[in-house]
């Protein structure tokens, strides 16, 4: 049993993107145990460039940037995942229901999520966070809401062709309840597309979070969040002290890139 599982895991890890994603997630989960998050202002060197002691250098408070980047992983990844998950939990059933029921409500939902595309998402998110406060819950909530229309549209367009298929009709004729058909027959057929979208969505959620924090409306320093860290170092950029902003930015880039790649792979395979 275990050898089969082990073999499957090794096969999974052969794909570079999957491997990378696993590494990033592992770093986020386990990293902080090895590299404790520096919170107190230390007596260490301030703003020192990358060296053997401090691989990513130190910031203006003497804190080791490598540790901060590793610790920041938890916040970014968790927020991205949660926001995406909530958005999917709301959007998918709505989309499937809209496709299934058709009629007026379907049209209303469709038009609404289409016009949502027109909105400047970032500005709306910023404005809302500013108004209701930037607690973690609020941030996750806002990012989730912004992503719901994506899932509605996606689920709806994936479900519509399945509805045409005969086995749905057969299930209906057999008297199965709508809800049961929805969960047992429709949703499973939609999953590959949705998983692929979920990965991309996580990436997008992380980017929104980083942007919000960058402008000062998301997670605030000294909590180590990658976007906030880029902001923290931006003043020193003008003097050429690049490491404070560059490394967290690389973290965002690599995470988003990996999630996008994973999404492409899943989208192509199935």
């Amino acid at each position: 049993m275990t050898t089969i599982l082990l073999r499957k895991i090794l096969q999974f890890l052969k794909t570079p993107s999957y491997l990378f994603l696993t590494l990033i997630i592992s770093m986020a989960i386990f990293g902080p145990f090895f590299l404790k998050n520096p919170i107190e202002i230390s007596n260490g060197p301030r703003l020192s460039p990358p060296s053997f002691d401090f691989l990513f250098g130190t910031d203006q408070y003497g804190m080791d940037i490598l540790s901060r980047v590793v610790n920041g992983g938890r916040i970014d990844l968790f927020t991205g995942f949660m926001a995406s998950f909530i958005a999917a939990s709301i959007g998918m059933p709505l989309g499937a229901l809209a496709a299934y029921k058709k009629g007026v409500w379907d049209q209303i939902l469709l038009r609404t999520s289409e016009s949502f595309q027109a909105f400047p998402v970032l500005i709306l998110a910023m404005g809302t966070i500013a108004a209701i406060g930037s607690s973690m819950v609020n941030i996750i909530f806002v990012i989730a809401i912004v992503n719901v229309p994506v899932y509605i549209k996606l689920t709806r367009s994936s479900v519509v062709p399945i509805l045409e298929k005969d086995f749905i009709h057969a299930a209906r004729c057999a008297g199965k309840s709508d809800l049961r058909i929805l969960f047992k027959h429709i949703l499973p057929n939609v999953s590959p597309v949705v998983i692929s979208q979920f990965s991309v969505n996580c990436a997008w959620a992380i980017q929104i979070l980083a942007a919000l924090s960058f402008v000062g409306l998301g997670v605030k320093l000294p909590t180590p969040e990658w976007g906030a860290m880029v902001r923290g170092g931006s003043d020193y950029i003008l003097y050429g002290q690049w490491w404070v902003s560059v490394f967290p930015g690389i973290a965002i880039l690599l995470t988003v890139l990996t999630l996008n790649q994973v999404s492409d792979i899943i989208g192509e395979k199935k």
Binding site: R111, T112, S115, Q117, A118, F119, P120, L122, I123, L124, M126, G127, T128, A130, A131, I132, A203, Q207, A210, A211, F214, V215, G216, L217, G227, V230, S234, I237, L238, Y239, G240, W242, S245, V246, G249, I252, L253, V256, L257, N260, Q261
Partner: protein, 335 residues
């Protein structure tokens, strides 16, 4: 005649969409916690000002009446007042909107210039250097955080090579040209104000390039995909089977078929760009709509924010409408 009917049909849809946008925006302002009056006059205003606002906006009236008053204001062109700047919002926007428009337009032009040729070439020459380059750049451009890229460009070109001007606004070391369109580059060209022209161009290069990279990446990907699709189609195979030379196939047969979907994508991206310059404007202190919105948000000054939201959304819908119309005119299949 059919064109007129189509235009009319699309205009109705546009109006409905703008209507929808206004409703959603209205709901958002009323749903947020706190007295909306404070959102409009600021938390430091005295009671009489607040009362005046409540009275003017009818905030104590039933919600439908409130909406009617809000719409009436909007339609009369009254976008409220920014208590931070002290000006009517429409006045503030009259200088900031062209700034964003200029930035977005230059960025779009730059994006098209680098991504479309690369997309086409990489599709034609499969498995070549350009193919791998295109895949790499499109993935990178999509994943890179915009604000970080902006910061990076400042680091490299201003702090590093010292060939870019300081990232502070639209023009330095020269005075702005006479205002005709509000877009410095165009205005200085029209008035032959070369000093202004070069100063404006210098300031716009870095922010526009940042946007050109992040917008060009999806455009590159889409151009490649469309071109690949076209090149695999049966009519291209057929043309080749008839002995038509490769250059004719690419320019006379493939390219025109790609133009249509690619131009739709350009329009969508442009519409998005008009509302999506926020981060770049923030980093480069570019005095456009985006920065205006952020400054207002940070001061809890919400009338400008709502105005910017409505304006952005409406611009997007307008761009979309224009593209649809262009499509209708150009594509023989719709006639």
């Amino acid at each position: 005649m059919r064109i007129l009917a189509y235009v009319f049909h699309r205009l109705i849809i546009l109006l409905l969409a703008v209507f929808g946008v206004s409703i959603i925006t209205f709901i958002v302002t009323r749903v947020l916690p706190g007295n909306p009056a404070y959102l409009i006059v600021g938390v430091q205003a005295d009671q009489s000002t607040v009362d005046a606002v409540i009275d003017r906006l009818g905030l104590d009236k039933p919600i439908f009446e409130q909406y009617w008053l809000y719409m009436r204001q909007l339609l009369l062109g009254d976008l409220g007042t920014s208590w931070r700047t002290g000006n009517p919002v429409s006045f503030d926007l009259s200088s900031r909107w062209p700034a964003t428009l200029e930035l977005a337009s230059i960025a779009m032009i730059l994006a098209i210039m680098w991504s479309i040729p690369l997309g086409l070439i990489s599709s034609i020459k499969k498995r070549s250097f350009s193919d791998y380059l295109a895949k790499f750049l499109s993935g990178l451009g999509i994943a890179i955080p915009e604000f970080w890229l902006a910061t990076l460009l400042i680091l490299v070109f201003f702090a590093g090579f010292q060939i870019a001007p300081p990232p502070i606004g639209r023009i330095m070391l020269a005075s702005p040209p006479e205002s005709i369109t509000g877009m410095y580059i165009i205005d200085s060209l029209i008035t032959s104000n070369w000093e202004s022209f070069f100063a404006s161009v210098a300031q716009i290069i870095l922010p526009a390039s940042t946007l050109a990279i992040t917008i060009g990446a999806p455009l590159l990907r889409v151009t490649r995909t469309f071109m690949n699709e076209v090149l695999d189609s049966q009519f291209i195979r057929s043309a080749r089977a008839m002995g038509i030379p490769k250059s004719s196939i690419i320019f006379r047969h493939a390219f025109p078929n790609v133009l249509l979907p690619v131009s739709t994508m350009i329009a969508v991206l442009y519409g998005y760009l008009l509302g999506g310059t926020v981060l770049v404007e923030f980093v480069f202190s570019w005095p456009g709509m985006g920065k205006y919105a952020i400054d207002s948000i940070n001061s809890s000054d919400y009338a400008p924010v709502m105005a910017v939201v409505v304006l952005s959304a409406t611009s997007y819908l307008l761009v979309y409408l224009l593209t649809d119309l262009l499509h209708f005119v150009v594509d023989p299949r719709t006639r």
